[in-house]
Structures are given as structure tokens and as C-alpha cells.
């Protein structure tokens, strides 16, 4: 354990490598990483504690850390020993925590990190003297290069060796001293620092000061931050598209092979229920339900990886603290701390990593508000829906189209900021925690830490995709396919016609007929399924928005992932799910011509704008709900999130429809 920015994660990774697992402490949302390592025939469990400045139990991190160290956390046994990490370039500040940790009386070894940087800054530390002052072994290490790590391992083993006499650490002589407990500790820390360091007054390098004059400037700093984030976003959207296409291709091809394999298998089976089951139901479940559903969500994995990779690099350099610093004044106007800005910006790629990165906000209320509003910001899964609606409405007016598209983004931002303000004024009342933030010295980031952080976050996402999202996809698949209905007469006729053509040698003409038959069958299947019935049943609710049951099915099926809306509509309107990708114009044409039973068009201006607003505001994403559950520790908050966003979306769509209709914009 040690101060934030002391290099704990880097040292932990150097000691454990890839074996670390991330988990929450029981009953909390405070995360820690733990790993089992073999040392001299013993299996040790190493825990990476949250970064702390003090153990006084004033923040939830401090409380959790204290409880764990005292053995008071149920389900976590008291540690046998502590590896206390001190930053050699900033010894005095780090010694404050040391004074509290040493008082716990656990066998302790001090790892004096960043000794290489300290040497570069001409800070000379008398290790022997420091060890004497602290009453415990002190090992100089440079976690980033790995220097000193083997020696630290040895010292840890010695600490756990039961035959060795445990060196009692001596706490600062402060027992019974009056006045501010903090002051006495600081005096002790400063005294020790002065006694063991040759250049105790060396502070931040001039470089850090010079850079900070620019990066923390009230206007230049914000501009610089915008530029940094712009580059990160450009990387997310540009770099991620290649692996995204790859993942998409992988799932589509696998789906193709699975379908072929099952078709072939069905061919060998005797005609009957089992054959239909394998050839139709099982194939559809695996290809559309499992592969389609999970693949549609895993496609966002590259974006998540890239985002966390860059965030970790930025944090490691010390820049993220500056970003929070310059954004603090602006964000405070909506009642959020500066640290909320990075998660909110990340939300424009995907709400899942954004909610995960909201951890950096210390105050519980501020963090909850940020998590609640993050899904209102336009993530990349909404883009296909926006594109479809805009193309549908303004096929020949690109300027207006891009204006409406931008408007949708802005609406998301405005809604998020106003809801933040509203929640801070009502539900999660309380002033925003004023900023108190260390601005650490700039340093070279560790690529290894960035990669490990990225893998760690990716694993969390994949686990979610493997469980919650898989279940949701299969349930939604079942809703859209059952109960089975009779094949429509028109499709059967087309199939017969195609078979006749094949028999008479016109196989080339038979293909399109078969595809058309497939589309008709899919359309009828969906219309008669539970999803279709629900769509019909909720039509009265959708009427005030100008929508019909077909849009209802689309909304229902896109509950797990928004982008599914487009392909569902393609099935509903009988053009086939694949044409949503391959030939979107055909889908738009069909939708243009789509009419209600009374002959009026379905996709009027008012209904479509309402639909756009609905998708800006609605919480149509199971992954986000699952990750909100993980980060808030209960289903209460995601349930509330879903409810308020759905109401907001419905209200927004209703209002838009109502206003447009009353002003004659049909």
C-alpha cells in the first residue's frame, strides 16, 4: 500500500505479472487487485490496496483499507505483513502515511520507489538511517525498470519467515501528544525526511512547473485538454474500426459456418421434429441469438480497450490530474467535480467504460450522479439509428441532415447536464466536494501498466458480455421467434416456384425468389412472435407518439443493444436483416412507403423526429445496466436509471410529436 501516484500499480504488476484479479472488497464498491504468488515454496496472496494519503477513516477508501489492515473486514483475513510503498522523490509527504501504517504493528517492509528518479534529481537518501528511523527494512526499488524488485521479494520472504524475529516497527513518538494529530505526524515526517535526505528541499523539477504554467492555465489549459481528448477520440474511432470490422467479420463468418454445419447435420437426420429443430430452431438460436447478440456487443471491445489504454497512459504521466484541475470550474456549474469530465467524454464512445472510469470521482454522490447521466450522452451504438432516421427524413438535404444529427448529440449533452443539475438539487442533495487534488510530477508513463489496465478492463467487459448480455440476447431472441407460426402462403408459393425453376434449370432465377421467401417468412415469424404480440399490445401507448406496432417491436428488440433497431426494422418491413448492412437504401425506400392500415405513412416527420429523440434519451442497453449494477453495488440505481431515462425518452418523443403536429409539420 502507499500514496496515490507512488507507483503502487506498477510495483504490483512487477511483483505479480498477469496473475492479478480485480474484485471489490466484500460489501463495498472499492476495488482492489489481488494475486497469488509463489515465494520460496509458500503461496502468498498479495493485495493491491487503494491509494491513500492517510488512514484516518474519513473517506470510504481509507475506511476500507483500515478495516482490512486491522482484520475487521468480514471475509478478508488480516494481512500477515505490509509492503509499504514510499515515493523517494516525495519522501516527506509519503512518510505521513508511513507513520500511521507503522502504528498498526504489522510486520512491514518499506519499498522506496522511484529511487532512479530521485537519483536523477540529486536527492540522496540514507537508506540505513531511514530504516533505523522507521524500524523496518527499507529496500530501494525502481518499479518501472524492475530494479530492486528481487531484493524486495527477499525482504518479503524474510518478513514472513516465522523463525526470524519480527522487527517491531517503532511508531513516531506521538502517543499522548496534544493538539492536531496531523501536525505531530507531519512534524515527524518532516524531521525524518530532513535527517535521511541530503537534499530534502528539492521539490518538483523545473520542467513540471514550466509545463504546468501552460497546462493549468484557465483558458490555454482547457484548450490543451480539448486537443488531447480530440486525439484520443480520433484514435478510438479511427484505430478501433479495423479490429471492430475484424470482430464483426469473425462473428458473421462463424455464424455462416455454424449455419452450414447445422444444415448439413439436419440433412442427415430423418425428417421430423428433431430435423426441424436442428435445421431451424437450433441454427437460429446459435446464429442469431448467441453469436449475433454477443457479437453485436463485443464489437465495442476495441473502443473500450483503446480508451482505457490512453486513459491509463494519461493518468500515469500525471496529466489526468491537470485535466480534472482545469475542468473543475466549468463542471461545478452543473454540480459535478472536474473529474467527471473524462467519464462524460468517454461516454461518447461507449457508456460502459465511461461508467467504469467514474471510479476516479471520490465522493459517492458525485460519482452516482455521473453514473446516472452518462448513458444520456450519445454513444457509438446510437449512430446507426441516428443515421437511419436522418437518411430517412432528409435523403436529399445533406446540410439539414447533418444539422439534425448534430442536434441529436447536443440534445444528449444538454439532457445529461440538466439531469445532473436536477439530481444534485433533489435526489442526491449536497454540495459538490471541493477540489483537493495532488498534481504529481510529470513522468514517463509505463506501457506495461497501460496494457495491463486495458486487459483488466477488457476482461470485465467480456465477462459481462459472457453472462448478462448472453442471457439477455437469448431471451430477446426467444421473444422474437416464439411461438412458431404457420409459414405465410405467399412465401410457400414463392418457394415452390423457385424449386420448379431449379428443376427446370433456371437456378439463377430461383435464388432471388428464395431470398424473397425468406424475408417474407422472417417478417411473418416476427409479427406473430411474443415480441410482435407485445408490439401490438403496447400500440395504444405508442399511438400518442405517432408510432405503430412495428416500431414497438423494433424498440423492444433493441433493448439489449440499440443498433439492433435497424436490423429489426429491416425484418419487420420484409427486406431482410442483411440488407440493413448491405443495401440500406432499400430499407429506407420500403420505410418511406410503409403505411398504416388507413393508408397514411408511418414515418412522418413528427414520428421520426420523435423516434430520434427517443433514442437519444432512452436507456436501451443491457451492458450499461449491468455495469451500473457493478459500480453502484445494487440493482436499485440501474433500475432507477432505466426508469427515469425511459420516462424522459417517452416524454421527449411525445412532446416532439405533439409540437411538430400542432405546427403542421407532419
Amino acid at each position: 500500500m502507499g500514496n496515490p501516484n507512488a507507483g503502487k500499480t506498477t510495483l504490483f504488476n512487477a511483483l505479480t505479472g498477469l496473475r492479478a484479479k480485480t474484485a471489490n472488497f466484500p460489501g463495498t464498491t472499492i476495488e482492489h487487485r489481488a494475486a497469488r504468488v509463489e515465494m520460496a515454496g509458500q503461496t502468498l496472496e498479495l493485495i493491491d490496496m487503494p491509494g491513500l494519503y492517510s488512514l484516518a477513516a474519513a473517506t470510504s477508501e481509507e475506511r476500507v483499507a483500515r478495516d482490512v489492515l486491522l482484520g475487521e473486514t468480514p471475509g478478508v483475513s488480516r494481512p500477515n505483513a505490509i509492503v509499504l510503498l514510499l515515493d523517494a522523490t516525495n519522501l516527506e509527504r509519503n512518510l505521513f502515511l508511513a507513520s500511521q501504517v507503522l502504528e498498526l504493528g504489522l510486520p512491514t517492509v518499506v519499498a522506496l520507489n522511484m529511487i532512479d528518479l530521485a537519483r536523477k534529481q540529486h536527492i540522496r537518501i540514507n537508506i540505513k538511517k531511514l530504516s533505523g528511523e522507521l524500524g523496518c527494512p527499507v529496500i530501494p526499488v525502481a518499479a518501472r525498470s524492475g530494479d530492486g524488485v528481487p531484493e524486495l521479494r527477499q525482504a518479503m520472504q524474510a518478513l514472513l519467515n516465522p523463525t526470524a524475529t519480527i522487527q517491531k516497527s517503532c511508531p513516531p513518538a506521538c502517543a499522548g501528544c496534544s493538539g492536531c494529530a496531523f501536525e505531530a505526524r507531519y512534524d515527524w515526517a518532516e524531521g525524518v525526511g530532513a535527517r535521511v535526505t541530503s537534499a530534502p528541499h528539492m521539490t518538483h523539477g523545473r520542467k513540471t512547473e514550466a509545463i504546468d504554467r501552460i497546462l493549468t492555465h484557465p483558458t490555454v489549459g482547457i484548450l490543451a485538454f480539448m486537443m488531447v481528448m480530440f486525439v484520443v477520440f480520433a484514435m478510438i474511432f479511427w484505430l478501433a474500426q479495423y479490429p471492430m470490422d475484424g470482430i464483426d467479420w469473425l462473428f458473421t463468418t462463424t455464424g455462416g459456418y455454424v449455419a452450414q454445419g447445422l444444415n448439413a447435420a439436419a440433412g442427415h437426420l430423418p425428417a421430423g421434429a428433431i430435423r426441424t429443430f436442428v435445421g431451424r430452431d437450433l441454427r437460429s438460436l446459435l446464429v442469431e441469438g448467441v453469436l449475433g447478440g454477443v457479437g453485436g456487443v463485443l464489437v465495442f471491445l476495441p473502443q473500450i480497450c483503446i480508451l482505457f489504454f490512453f486513459l491509463s497512459l494519461l493518468e500515469d504521466t500525471g496529466y489526468l490530474a491537470r485535466a480534472a484541475f482545469v475542468m473543475d470550474r466549468l463542471m461545478r456549474r452543473v454540480g459535478l467535480p472536474g473529474k467527471a469530465f473524462v467519464p462524460m467524454l468517454s461516454a461518447h464512445a461507449c457508456a460502459v467504460p465511461a461508467i467504469m472510469s467514474a471510479r476516479m470521482i471520490e465522493d459517492r454522490r458525485d460519482r452516482l450522479v455521473t453514473i446516472l447521466i452518462i448513458p444520456l450522452l450519445t454513444c457509438s451504438a446510437r449512430i446507426p439509428v441516428y443515421t437511419m432516421i436522418v437518411a430517412l427524413l432528409f435523403p436529399t438535404r445533406p446540410l439539414l441532415a447533418s444539422g439534425v444529427f448534430t442536434g441529436a448529440y447536443l440534445l444528449g449533452i444538454v439532457a445529461a447536464l440538466s439531469m445532473a443539475l436536477l439530481f444534485k438539487k433533489t435526489l442526491l442533495k449536497g454540495e459538490t466536494k471541493p477540489l483537493v487534488l495532488e498534481l504529481p510530477s510529470y513522468k514517463m508513463p509505463s506501457l506495461r501498466t497501460a496494457i495491463l489496465t486495458m486487459l483488466d478492463r477488457a476482461m470485465i467487459f467480456v465477462k459481462k458480455a459472457g453472462t448478462v448480455i448472453l442471457v439477455a440476447s437469448v431471451v430477446l431472441w426467444a421473444l422474437a421467434h416464439y411461438p412458431r407460426s404457420a409459414e405465410p402462403a405467399q412465401a410457400v408459393a414463392l418457394q415452390q416456384q423457385a424449386h420448379q425453376m431449379q428443376a427446370t434449370g433456371h437456378a439463377d432465377q430461383a435464388g432471388p425468389l428464395l431470398i424473397q421467401a425468406d424475408h417474407l417468412m422472417a417478417q411473418s415469424e416476427l409479427a406473430h412472435s411474443i415480441a410482435g404480440r407485445i408490439g401490438h399490445a403496447i400500440e395504444p401507448v405508442l399511438k400518442p407518439l405517432g408510432w405503430d406496432w412495428q416500431i414497438g417491436i423494433g424498440i423492444l428488440s433493441s433493448f439489449a443493444a440499440r443498433e439492433v433497431f435497424v436490423s429489426t426494422l429491416a425484418i419487420v418491413y420484409g427486406v431482410g436483416a442483411d440488407s440493413a448492412h448491405a443495401n440500406p437504401q432499400r430499407l429506407y425506400d420500403t420505410m418511406h412507403q410503409a403505411t398504416r392500415t388507413d393508408g397514411t405513412p408511418v414515418f412522418t416527420m413528427s414520428a421520426s423526429i420523435g423516434l430520434l429523440i427517443f433514442y437519444v434519451l432512452a436507456m436501451q442497453c443491457v451492458s450499461t445496466l449491468a455495469v451500473s449494477r457493478r459500480e453502484t453495488g445494487s440493482w436499485k440505481w440501474p433500475a432507477f436509471q432505466f426508469l427515469y431515462m425511459s420516462l424522459l425518452a417517452y416524454g421527449g418523443a411525445f412532446l416532439a410529436h405533439f409540437l411538430l403536429v400542432s405546427y403542421g409539420w407532419r
Binding site: 474519513a58 509527504r93 505521513f96 502504528e103 498498526l104 530532513a194 513540471t208 493549468t216 484541475f325
Partner: protein, 122 residues
């Protein structure tokens, strides 16, 4: 070990009254240093590059604690590195950003020695 733990817990337990005590001590310690109340200013009132020693923190317990954990604690010296909102302080050789609203709740005695925030205890 029991006794060490006990004394440790006792000190941690003191956190809420620590704020009060800090204030009390602040008024007491102002005497011996023979500084008139007039020379005490709020932290944002310092000129950039100048420093002062903290005499009073009148924020609520939680915020006061966060400041103290960073080294802004009664009796300690801080330097104002950059004014503005938020402003930058140097404490214990380390730079921290603090929102101006919170910094205004910290009163300091202006110090006239150069570079004193870096230079250790009183």
C-alpha cells in the same frame, strides 16, 4: 502490539474533534508567535509565490480532513503557487490543486521569509 493498536485507533478516532481542536490550538498558538490578527488572511489572499502558516481551517470535518491529509494543517506552511479557481498550493514539497471556495476557508499568517513553505517545520 495491543497497546500500539489501541493508541493508533485512539488517534484515528479523534478525527471529528480534531477540527475543533485545531481551531482551539490555532487561537492559542497565535499568541506566542505574537502575530496580530490583522496579518492573518485567507489563503486566496496570499500573493502568488508567497507563503503563510495555517492558523485556522473552518471547513466542515470532511473537507478539513481532506486538506489535512494533503498537508494543509494548522501550524504547517503553505505556498500559493498559482492564484485562480482552482488555485495551486505547494505543501510539503508537493503541489496540490484546491478549489478557491475551500481555500477561502483556510486562514494563514503571511510569512515574510522567502521559500519557507519548502523549508520545513516552524
Amino acid at each position: 502490539m495491543k497497546s500500539i493498536e489501541g493508541s493508533g485507533a485512539g488517534q484515528h478516532g479523534q478525527t471529528p474533534p480534531a477540527g475543533l481542536q485545531a481551531q482551539r490550538q490555532a487561537t492559542e498558538s497565535a499568541g506566542p508567535r505574537s502575530v496580530s490578527a490583522a496579518s492573518a488572511v485567507i489563503l486566496p489572499g496570499l500573493r502568488p509565490g508567497h507563503c503563510g502558516s495555517v492558523v485556522e481551517i473552518s471547513a466542515d470535518d470532511d473537507d478539513a480532513h481532506r486538506l489535512m491529509a494533503m498537508g494543509v494543517c494548522v501550524g504547517r506552511r503553505v505556498e500559493l503557487v498559482q492564484a485562480g479557481d482552482p488555485l495551486i498550493l505547494r505543501v510539503l514539497g508537493c503541489r496540490i490543486g484546491v478549489s478557491a471556495r475551500l481555500a477561502a476557508r483556510v486562514r494563514v499568517e503571511v510569512c515574510h521569509e522567502p521559500q519557507c513553505a519548502v523549508g520545513g517545520a516552524n
